[in-house]
Symmetry: D2
Subunit: 325 residues, 4 copies
């Protein structure tokens, strides 16, 4: 990989990993096409104890966002409260009282999916569509996240890179340092060491734990939103393509390693995998309790249910993914 | 039931169905305590084909809300679009382009859960807490919906009252008319006729289809938000208590029959079951495709995954529930 | 005017009234350039009694908006209340208590100015700039409303067409009927009948009262937002150009007559006067109390102060214009 | 002043400065009652050159707010853009194109007025009303800012403490240091030194420039929102009461000196002057260009027009105040 030639590397890798037309001209699902009934049935059969883990970070004003691209933390306000109910100012009879609330938030403020309309490559959206007429101010007119409302439940697999690599990088915690680029070799090593339940294949939703989120819980958010972070190397694109995973999520803000590996680029792996491969990416997931449970039992696959909110035309969605083991 | 004495009937029924203290003084989960690992394992084992149904209505400006209590439809706006990406005005290198978005919405605008802080009875919130210090302008400080982030996955059971009663009420469609009060007898009849897979018990999440949502898809929203509707009779409270269901959701705006059955009351069944029983209520669910699949196969139970977004302090949450069969 | 040939008529009128380059290539103010210190001094000297009129409609959920182009009524919510203060849940010492609030609103939801970036003509914004790079998802990068923060105070003149024409149209109220197109002849007649204080010239801010807002106060909003309305005829563009007014505001939703006068057009007068002439347009003003005062005294000019909120990059602004007489 | 006894000092000063009942039991205007037609006429006559100054700070995401009490910076988003217009995806005929926008913001995010419902003293709002039933989740039901829509235009007077005291405090810039408490003696000295046009009396709107805002323009926002700042001493309350000013605004976040002068208090001067005196307070004003003009000409009074947006029930309002000289 030539770090001085991002445009060329991106173009080459995009071509290599491109799935345009693979599921027809009208496709809106990309790699979610890899998930079918059989896959979901396989996933449901992984449940052995009924134990559940929520994989969401909190949605509140104490979040990591600092306003970049107008991404703020969510603002939740009450339109009615218990205090009003006590005071009898709500106008309901018989001692009835109520509380109601509203929220204003970027769809990328906390745990989320990137939709296929979230990233473009040289003016093209997923399946080769023109970006400018696909995602307008009215939203994503073609691949809006609501089209994937029933498609993000599958077998989940956790690759806990933070734990797997802790020894060889000599870390105090099971966490990768900021700037650490996870390569194909690291991914394959993780699968090997974690064993059979960690094999990754068609239709799986792959969860990659770096440990960075655990670090923020200890040290504060710092530059979690956009700053240096461990993450996938740009060079993993072909592996992601070859394994035919349906989606990949990480416990970091930006999925790929930061700073990015080119001298001048911005999230180049996004640029390849979303518009070209049609891959769904999840970010800012909380994989902590799940990772502990997996490690304790050395069992790394589970039923993952992470359907997006069907917000018409959205290019992303806040979610509360749950893993059932 | 004396329809002229709502305060008395509410007080009596509340006392009869009250679960305060049942799970300790600090409890924040109410009837969700009925769901345990064994229950979730039972639920996962119901999956036979891997077929999935999203039970959410759309989240967009074409929704049913008309502004009552400042409940508007969601407003989704883009902070970056494909058109900007094409124009090269986004400042990214190498042909990278992106789209981003934000949403402003009442948490009760579309398919949702009512949290335990949503309704009060004579100044008391769930478990007997003082409403005014439990749910303030800072949100629900005790029973915020984030406390239930990992608790709304269980066995789901659909009771399709619209279909079951179509014959005896002589309806053109499998839909109950507005104002139709579903009683305990109707519920038991539905269980009987639907058969073994429709039995309702401890920890189940009960889905009640009235058919009203199907009607709005045919005729327009009309007064779906707050107007006349089929729904549960106030008199079903003891049955809901006795069956020990964990949660109940309907395809209507307001769960209970409207107009309410008292001369002067507002959502009296809410007033009993949320603060007194600790029951989670879901509203505005889209049960159509699930109901068709269940009817076709005469199999009415499934794995239901409907975790709320963990919005800190929220008294409700938008959701995309999915049923796996 | 050929009502079957809107494109041709618009192109011809746009060319006739175009002010591109008149104030230099970098101009961001358009006709506001007509207002100078002398004009403001003249305006201040019109004040004789110190009487004041607020010309704003209310900003609340009971407004006219119905969601077209996601234009909702404003949603105002409290983040702290007096009820919380009483309960002592706010954490302040010494009996201190506070209330705070937030608002979410379209900038065009109630009384407002259209900024110069609000309308484009065949891909061109004010002064001939390319629309696509002038107003992006980041807002109006050139003519954002903040550039006019100190430019919307001048001599105001009220032309009360509703009153002036009441007799000859035989109306029960001093109000023009919906669909009534105000022509140059009507405007000149109004000036004649109202007298010297109603003369209109360079740098004035012209307020045109149709009476439609008064009708909504009597009859309800109805289709105030976008429906039939009295308003300026497309044919008044040259007059608006010739008089060199700095801005024009009406008591209607849309400034120009609706339905528009062409078989197929949408707000064609906007299309001419905003991007071509550089004219600021105000809409949804409440001219009622001012009109009564003017009529009573037969004095129609005043100091008008209507500065926009300097929202960076906005293409419009909510305002509370005040007239000082 | 005993800095260890805030509750006692607050109670004593509140009693001393209390205006409850002064304008009747139903009053909603407080000290704005001091402004009458004669006062506005006097103000208009101060205009000599027609020169205008906007006194607003910007409204955008690059503002000072950091999320305290959910006070974020404004989030402005486009619902239609010029890029869409160019692409012809808006659905308008004849080459018509449009841009539209929305904003979500705390009403206290930038240049603003505090309404009378913004602060309470021991459970009481302005005029002795009960806080809990005056300002509920539905907003300020009595003294909502819309009641002052036509009342905030008057004679403005600038006291430029930053300039007046620069010499004696030996400052490099005409700016008071953070933590500097402006006393009655300072105010009187400023009036003396600035001369006749700086006299302060009944119905005036007093603008106090500390210079802190100028410092943030040079050094960055830092802790402008809530951190250390120059401002009025708690001890100025009787002076504010005695002079019968209608309103007071500063170029700081919080009007009064910070840290506050008591060991344990939060904005104690607010607690006295808003609910007890009925005084309108303005914060985060940009007085820079006005101050330079006043200093150059040694003329410190002007016509000030600063009407709030009439947001029904609001306890504050964003504004763009303008001074006409």
């Amino acid at each position: 990989m030539d770090r001085t030639a991002p445009a060329q590397e991106i173009a080459r890798t995009a071509e290599q990993c491109r799935n345009w037309g693979r599921w027809g001209d009208d496709d809106v699902l990309g790699t979610l096409n890899f998930i079918d009934d059989a896959k979901r049935l396989e996933a449901a059969r992984l449940v052995r104890t009924g134990e559940i883990h929520s994989l969401a970070q909190a949605f509140d004003t104490n979040g990591p966002q600092k306003g970049w691209r107008r991404r703020t933390n969510p603002v939740h306000t009450m339109t009615d409260t218990g205090a009003d109910a006590e005071n009898g100012t709500q106008g309901f009879p018989n001692g009835m009282g109520g509380a109601d609330d509203v929220i204003a938030m970027p769809l990328q403020c906390s745990t989320q999916w990137d939709g296929l309309g979230h990233i473009f490559d040289r003016g093209k959206a997923w399946n080769g569509r023109r970006a400018g007429v696909t995602v307008t101010s009215d939203g994503d007119l073609v691949t809006g996240i609501q089209t994937a409302a029933a498609n993000l439940v599958s077998r989940g697999v956790l690759l806990d890179l933070g734990r797997v690599l802790q020894g060889e990088i000599g870390a105090d915690y099971p966490e990768l340092p900021d700037g650490f680029a996870i390569t194909e070799a690291h991914l394959e090593a993780a699968i090997d060491r974690q064993g059979e339940s960690a094999r990754v294949g068609r239709g799986d939703i792959l969860l990659i734990r770096t440990g960075q989120y655990a670090r923020t819980r200890r040290d504060g958010w710092g530059d979690y939103a956009g700053g240096p972070a461990p993450g996938l190397s740009f060079t993993t694109a072909p592996w992601l393509h070859r394994t035919e995973v349906a989606a990949v999520a990480t416990d970091t803000w930006g999925f790929e390693v930061r700073p990015n590996e080119f001298d001048d680029a911005f999230q180049p792996l996004h640029q390849v995998v979303i518009p070209n491969m049609g891959l769904f990416i999840g970010e800012m997931w909380n994989l902590e309790s799940l990772a502990e449970a997996c490690a304790a039992e050395r069992r790394y696959d589970f039923l993952l249910s992470a359907p997006p909110l069907p917000i018409t035309g959205a290019v992303g969605s806040p979610i509360n993914p749950v893993a059932l083991r």
